[in-house]
């Protein structure tokens, strides 16, 4: 003889059981939420870079040059970015003098595409070996922090949405 019979498949217990099953899916949903936010971060970073006038030197900055990578069910995501974009962001705002010389092939190639005609001419002379080097003042174009600031507040509502969908849905 029993005093109380509890069946996991009836009434409130059934509901609680179902909810527990959903809670088990929470880590998976966290990963999905992170993926959705990561894509938003990638998009915001590209938008900010475009708005700040960062040129796609290699032609791929606005494609895979800035990208979010995460394994399908992974808990770690990474935002990748081309090194020259990172360098532009990190360079001092006040500017600094650099030497454009033949050994700095990327810099020479960049100077060859400059809008300034005098700079293009000097870069050509350096490339041909007719000029040893010339000096150029460069300054930074910070944009990464702006992209981060734009995307960061969106993380919370996305996680809330996924949590609601998993537990409360």
């Amino acid at each position: 003889m029993f005093l109380l019979k509890v069946n996991l498949n009836t009434g409130d217990m059934r509901k609680a059981n179902r909810r527990l099953k959903r809670i088990r899916r929470l880590p998976e949903m966290t990963s999905d939420a992170m993926m959705e936010w990561g894509k938003i971060l990638e998009g915001d970073m590209k938008t900010v870079a475009w708005q700040k006038g960062i040129k796609s030197f290699t032609g791929t900055l606005y494609e895979e040059g800035i990208r979010w990578e995460q394994r399908p069910k992974g808990y770690t995501g990474r935002l990748f970015m081309r090194l020259y974009a990172l360098a532009l962001d990190a360079a001092p705002l006040g500017g600094k003098w650099i030497s454009v010389k033949p050994s700095r092939t990327h810099l020479v190639a960049w100077a060859r595409q400059a809008i300034d005609g005098d700079l293009r001419r000097k870069a050509l002379l350096v490339q041909k070996g007719k000029l040893k080097y010339f000096s150029l003042k460069v300054r930074g174009h910070p944009f990464i922090m702006d992209g981060w600031r734009r995307a960061r507040p969106k993380l919370r509502p996305i996680i809330a949405k996924y949590a609601k969908r998993t537990i409360g849905g």
Partner: protein, 247 residues
Amino acid sequence: MATTKEYTGSDCTGSNGDLNRTLTLINRAKPDGFLLYVSGLLLSETSSYSIAHSDTGSVITFLNALFDDMEIVVVYNIEFSVSTVNYGNLFSSSRDNIVSLIKDNVSDPTVSSSEFRKWVYSREPDVKASDFKGFPFIIIHPAVLSFDEKTINGQIRTVNWGIQIEVITADREFGNNDGKGSTHLDNISNEIVMYLNNKSNSNVLRQNGLFFIDTNATSVVVESFNNTLIYRRSFMLSFKNKMKVYA
């Protein structure tokens, strides 16, 4: 939610004192709850005015003489154009319905009710372009889709939509709008939330396949761009439906 728009006789076609002058509303008005006042007097349909609806708006024809200095007040419910979401238009229709809801209901604080300015975009507009129509503006991003549980044959699945809406305002504007970035941001945000939470609007969305609408707003991000302070707030919208995903 009834909208009240104010005009004068000069906003109508024709000349001062003419019969049959017309006034075009930029939204399509619902027949229920439509009220038209001229100089404070409520007009009755058929004897004083007639109204015709098209896909883009409604046109009111005043049957009696209308003078340019007469004040016209129109109170109406906006009928936003929606399309049913099905397996063939999961991305397009879900977003189009939200665009329609926002465009037809939320009012632009910088222009009067009789003017039109492009201010709803699908991506970040080029603010330096010559054809940029100015701040504030709204960006409704493309829909994000994900699927959950499915039936054994996979024909019916739980579909989850996510749509991001961004409201962007600036402090540096012309005339009276200068320095109102934060005020405009809050006013536009108020209207967006109000119309998304409105019961009749969510019923319309539900009837067209977008269930369990949920709106979450982010905190305000203040940015400096071209020596102007820009305010940005995002809304993360989500919907859900259990539906057929292929024929």
